[in-house]
């Protein structure tokens, strides 16, 4: 194995309390559980069914929302690809709104219009708190015939690689390595954002997309698969070293694309200044 420079690892730290995102959606419907139990004790079968089903619906909505908020492969909203119309978070929102309407109608005894209104208010509250995901991927302004579609396909593939990197990050126990991978994924997304804004940058970023991004995806997937099977400090250290290098490469690529932006702008300013001078305005 090649002698790679040793990078001091950050000692694994406690990564903190579990996230409380979406937690309140589990708490607010708890009275329905009590209502089901009371109804059961009173022998009111229809009330048991109504309250129990409503509670189950709320649980489902809360679970979908929490998975959507915490991220994960199924939760990712594809920016460039054709993601499902409803992301996990949006589906959670729909189920919570439906559960509210169902509870209002069947369990709380409200009329149909009132129940629908309750559902709509719940949906609005959800949006204010958690922000519903967009339904359509953004348009990519084409540079020429078929160019937009070619750029979009490349961005879709690249985005899928970034999603794989994020997925691998979640499978890795070491919080430091996970943070590095998350940073790499974020950098990757920013680079794709730059290419989306200026599709002609695709040429400049080709090596990044075909070599470094794909390499990062393969290495992180491989490590996520094997690190639990073999407790190897050397493997961890080598992986850490590779991640540091990848972060540097990604940062350089981002810098190059931004520099190109600035250079283009410089040239445009110079051209305009010369024109104004020729016209005698400057």
């Amino acid at each position: 194995m090649t002698n790679l420079p040793r990078i001091s690892p950050v000692a694994p730290r406690w990564s903190g309390w579990p996230s409380t995102k979406g937690f309140w959606l589990f708490l607010f419907p708890l009275p329905l559980l009590s209502a089901s139990v009371l109804a059961l004790a009173s022998g009111k079968l229809s009330a048991v069914l109504a309250n129990g089903s409503a509670f189950a619906l709320f649980l489902l909505g809360a679970l979908l929302t929490r998975r959507g908020l915490l991220g994960g492969r199924g939760a990712a909203v594809l920016r460039y690809g054709r993601s499902p119309i409803l992301s996990l978070k949006n589906r959670g929102a729909g189920v919570v709104a439906a559960a509210t309407a169902v509870t209002a109608f069947f369990a709380a005894g409200h009329g149909l219009p009132n129940s629908i209104l309750f559902g709509a208010v719940a949906l609005l509250a959800f949006h204010l708190l958690y922000e519903l995901d967009p339904l359509h991927p953004p348009r990519i302004s084409p540079g020429g015939e078929g160019e937009g579609e070619r750029v979009r396909k490349t961005l879709v593939e690249a985005e899928q690689r970034i999603l794989d990197i994020e997925h691998s990050a979640r499978a890795i126990g070491n919080p430091e390595l996970r943070r590095r991978l998350d940073r790499i994924a974020e950098q990757g997304r920013e680079i794709l954002g730059l290419i989306e804004r200026r599709p002609r940058d695709l040429r400049r970023a080709r090596q990044f997309l075909t070599v470094y991004l794909e390499g990062a995806q393969q290495v992180s997937a491989g490590y996520a698969r094997t690190h639990k099977l073999a407790d190897s400090r050397d493997l961890e250290q080598n992986f850490r070293t590779v991640l540091v290098t990848i972060e540097k490469v990604f940062a350089e690529q981002q810098g190059r694309l931004l520099e190109a932006d600035v250079m283009d702008l410089d040239i445009q300013i110079e051209v305009l200044t010369n024109q104004l001078k020729n016209e005698g305005i400057l």
Binding site: W24, L25, F28, P29, L30, P31, L32, S34, A35, L38, A39, S42, K44, A47, A50, N51, A54, F58, V96, A99, T100, T103, A104, A107, A108, G109, H110, F118, G119, V121, A122, L124, A125, F126, H127, L128, L129, E131, A251, Q254, G255
Partner: protein, 39 residues
């Protein structure tokens, strides 16, 4: 590389989140409690 902070969208302000909490409690919380008290 130092990245400038992205400006937060106004809609995610404190008061709107507070309104969201009030509406969530007023819809989900309220109907759940009403269901309990109607047993």
């Amino acid at each position: 590389m130092n990245q400038p902070d992205r400006p937060r969208p106004l809609a995610r302000g404190f008061w709107l989140k507070a309104l969201g909490w009030v509406l969530l409690a007023g819809s989900v919380g309220l109907v759940s409690c009403q269901a309990l008290f109607s047993i």
